[in-house]
């Protein structure tokens, strides 16, 4: 399985993160997105006429939507991550996958403007981003009331992975995450998952590594 990847793209990171969390093998093929605009070159347009990355290629299968890639990876290697097989659960996962597009447009749009000289109406993007974060915060608070940690059901699903990157990187677009305690706890839980990998702008939880000042047990 080959992922056409860009290290700074949150959508590419979604797929790398998913693969790392479930231990799926992934071959990375770096794309010179910035400054080279390689995604708009002939070779990559032939693969994905939309001119976007990531692109996932597995044999004859070519995917250009990150949500589909998450579903494919989970389907292949970790079906539990698709959520429970009930109508409600499946619908909720779809709901959050679609919601993730709003995060991409708003938070991702603000990030491109603030960080990589992208074009767009920054204020409108930020307003839309804050509205989406508030919705997510309310939903995650509701989950906490029910004793839950994740967006859907009892365990982590592709819905969480789909929403996490753009939310965690909201500050890149000058959108503060300070006002959202439930989002903070959810991100912390995700960053604490075995196999978690970081990307620039998202720090790992250093406290999970052994403390160099505390002698190792049994030593």
């Amino acid at each position: 399985m080959i992922l056409y990847d860009y290290i700074l793209s949150p959508s590419c990171y979604k797929v790398r993160l998913m693969a790392a969390l479930i231990g799926a093998p992934l071959e990375l093929r770096p794309v010179d997105f910035h400054p080279g605009k390689e995604h708009l070159g002939e070779d990559l347009l032939a693969l994905n006429p939309a001119g976007s990355i990531p692109i996932l290629v597995d044999g004859d299968l070519i995917l250009s939507e990150s949500a589909a890639m998450l579903a494919y990876l989970a389907g292949q290697y970790a079906p539990d991550w698709l959520g429970e097989e009930t109508a409600t659960s499946r619908a909720m996962v779809q709901q959050w996958l679609a919601f993730a597009h709003r995060l991409t447009a708003a938070l991702g749009g603000a990030r491109l403007v603030e960080m990589l000289h992208g074009q767009g109406d920054l204020e409108a993007l930020q307003t839309a981003g804050i509205a989406a974060l508030r919705e997510l915060e309310a939903a995650l608070f509701k989950r906490r009331l029910d004793g839950g940690t994740w967006l859907v059901g009892e365990s982590i699903t592709i819905a969480d992975v789909a929403c996490f990157p753009y939310v965690a990187l909201a500050p890149d677009g000058s959108i503060s995450l300070d006002p959202y305690p439930s989002i903070r706890l959810w991100m912390r839980a995700l960053r604490g998952q075995a196999g978690f990998v970081e990307m620039p702008g998202i720090h790992r939880r250093h406290e999970l590594a052994p403390d160099p000042l505390t002698p190792a047990e049994g030593a």
Partner: protein
């Protein structure tokens, strides 16, 4: 205005939002601070500026009973004193280096912070339990109006979805108010969810009001 009643103790967060081993940013009288809970459960508060190079300590991490800065890993104890500088592991940091510790108290599920040394305890919140905290882009007065409640010390009391609630309000910046929501102790989980949803309505109204006033 009792909304702005001066109390040495400022309610800044709900206990449940800061589990063991975590740190959060907060605002004390428009000054950025960090509130953190050690691994053993002790709550601490200090300035949010690392004395080394000014990095926000709320971006740091909690190890055991210490808070570490994310930039160069300087470690601070519960008294705010710097305990360890990773670049010089064998040096004992001078006692003068600290991150500006603040007085903090945890009571009734609310974390209170005081700028100066105070003898008193924070006010009791009898019969109430914490629900959630949210930020309004509105002034406290607009929240009072939108909630249809009455003023009490540090906030508003109102009835929402048939339940007594209390909103502790703290201005953080112009037109930005932190709201800690407490509900009657007997409130069921179902009613809590309903209140949470109704609060979003209050926020929409309060912010709509603030925007209108801003435009006028």
């Amino acid at each position: 205005m009792r909304l702005n009643a001066s109390s040495p103790w400022i309610p800044l967060a709900l206990s449940g939002d800061i589990p063991n081993g975590t740190v959060i940013p907060a605002t004390l009288c428009s000054k950025p601070i960090a509130i953190w809970r050690s691994q053993s459960g002790q709550v601490n508060a200090n300035g949010n500026r690392c004395p080394h190079r000014g990095m926000r300590l709320s971006h740091g991490f909690v190890r055991g009973e210490t808070l570490s800065c994310i930039y160069h890993g300087w470690r601070f104890g519960q008294d705010g004193a710097c305990q360890h500088i990773p670049a010089h592991p064998d040096v004992v940091p001078p006692a003068s280096i600290n991150c500006g510790p603040l007085q903090v108290a945890e009571q009734d599920g609310v974390i209170w912070v005081a700028e100066d040394q105070v003898e008193s305890q924070p006010p009791r919140l009898d019969g109430l339990k914490p629900l959630r905290s949210l930020v309004f882009c509105a002034e406290p007065e607009a929240i009072l109006t939108a909630s249809g409640g009455t003023e009490v010390d540090l906030g508003v009391e109102a009835t929402l979805a048939g339940t007594r609630i209390c909103l502790l309000l703290q201005g953080q910046a112009p037109a930005e108010t932190l709201c800690l929501v407490l509900v009657d102790q007997a409130t069921s989980p179902k009613a809590c969810a309903e209140i949470s949803r109704a609060l979003e309505g209050i926020r929409r109204r309060a912010e709509g009001e603030t925007e209108k006033r801003g435009a006028a």
